[in-house]
């Protein structure tokens, strides 16, 4: 039975092992940075930025999104529109644009 793999496949696997090491390093960085006092908002922003970067690595490489078919991208565009709408609503509700805020 023939293999269904090519050079691109092997490159992809190698890249993923590299991503795994990057993820471990950035996990340690996340913990290290949390001990530095950056102010209330500062620590939250940095932690979420690092987490988002790690999440993008997992999505792009492990989940193979950086070379996926356009139908998948079209589905995910809607997902992120709705996710950001949810976060925006949360923000609006907290700052008084909607309902009772602080």
């Amino acid at each position: 039975m023939s293999e269904h793999v090519d050079a691109h496949f092997h490159k992809h696997i190698k890249a993923c092992v590299g991503v795994f090491l990057l993820l471990m390093v950035f996990t340690l960085i996340t913990v290290g940075v949390s001990f530095i006092q950056l102010g209330h908002v500062g620590n939250i922003v940095v932690a979420l930025l690092i987490a988002t970067f790690k999440a993008l690595l997992v999505a792009a490489y492990f989940m193979h999104l950086n070379s996926e078919k356009s139908v998948i991208y079209k589905v995910l565009v809607f997902t992120f529109i709705f996710f950001f709408a949810l976060m925006l609503l949360t923000l609006f509700a907290l700052h008084g644009e909607i309902g009772v805020g602080h």
Partner: protein, 282 residues
């Protein structure tokens, strides 16, 4: 009769069926966890901020209630399992059954390890830990936390937690002022044991989700995540044992199935990448 496009992709989308199916499902899962993260934002921003000079409010957002190193260990376990499930899929594509068995086995073990640490250690630690609020003679309240040493119909003995870096929740917490509580000795961990009469106790509760809004959203989000880890591990176990028969009859179809399971597993890892800093570090 064979279902079309289980292996061969459709000409119009370039996808085989389950690939589109799993991504649609993961899109819905983003909204499920997203909604609960939004709830976390509301609870956290709604918590009172400490005003310097004023006593602390019980409802302030707490810090240091979770063991960072245990959480870090579990994070490494999940990230490692993410690469091993990918390598197990790659092994099917390169027709190395032994390698597939090896890497999928590690992935399954990692899933169970994560759950044993969470449900066998972290959660039970919370249920054994107590917070006690009691009246004092001068009409105020004292709040202490610790572990129950002895409980009778008349009193409760608590080995109190040492104060963390000077932060005291009202009177008490190892400062020697316990209102109606009396120090009766030292406990197994070297901390004071304080005895409170039952009739002065306003609240005695372990650190379950009912104890504080922080624990409520912590248990909800991590338990939902834990159920996903468990379900994913069961599916992986199926592919490791009875399901692996398909490797010998239709290996490309089997590779697709493992790829779909891998996508779910990566999503579970992705959620934890956010859960860990949010609850353990911030």
């Amino acid at each position: 009769m064979q279902i079309p496009y289980e292996v061969k992709p459709r000409e119009d989308t370039g996808l085989w069926n389950a690939k589109l199916g799993i991504w649609l499902f993961l899109a819905s899962e983003v909204m499920l966890f997203g909604g609960l993260f939004s709830a976390y934002v509301f609870l956290r921003t709604g918590a009172p901020e400490h005003v310097v000079g004023q006593p602390h409010s019980f409802l302030e957002w707490p810090h240091g209630w979770l063991n960072v190193w245990v959480g870090l260990g579990n994070t490494f376990v999940l990230i490692a399992s993410s690469i091993t499930i990918l390598l197990s899929w790659a092994a099917i594509k390169t027709r190395d059954f032994k390698k597939f068995r090896w890497y999928m086995g590690i992935t399954i073990a990692a899933g169970f390890l994560f759950l044993i640490v969470k449900c066998g250690y972290e959660y039970p630690q919370k249920f054994k830990h107590y917070g006690l609020t009691a009246q004092t003679e001068d009409g105020k309240v004292v709040h202490v936390t610790g572990h129950i040493v002895k409980k009778t119909d008349d009193f409760v003995q608590l080995e109190v937690d040492p104060p963390k870096g000077g932060h005291a929740e009202g009177k008490g917490e190892g400062h020697g002022e316990y209102g109606s509580g009396v120090v009766v000795g030292k406990g197994d961990h070297g901390h004071e044991v304080v005895q409170f009469p039952k009739d002065k106790i306003l609240r005695l509760s372990n650190w379950g989700p009912w104890y504080h809004p922080y624990l409520a959203i912590y248990f909800l989000l991590t338990a939902l995540h834990g159920i996903h880890v468990f379900a994913g591990t069961l599916v992986n176990l199926y592919f490791w044992l009875p399901g692996s028969k398909m490797y010998h009859t239709d290996p490309e179809h089997f590779a697709n199935r493992v790829e779909v399971s891998g996508l779910f597993w990566h999503f579970v890892d992705l959620v934890w990448i956010f859960l860990f800093p949010v609850f353990y570090l911030l």
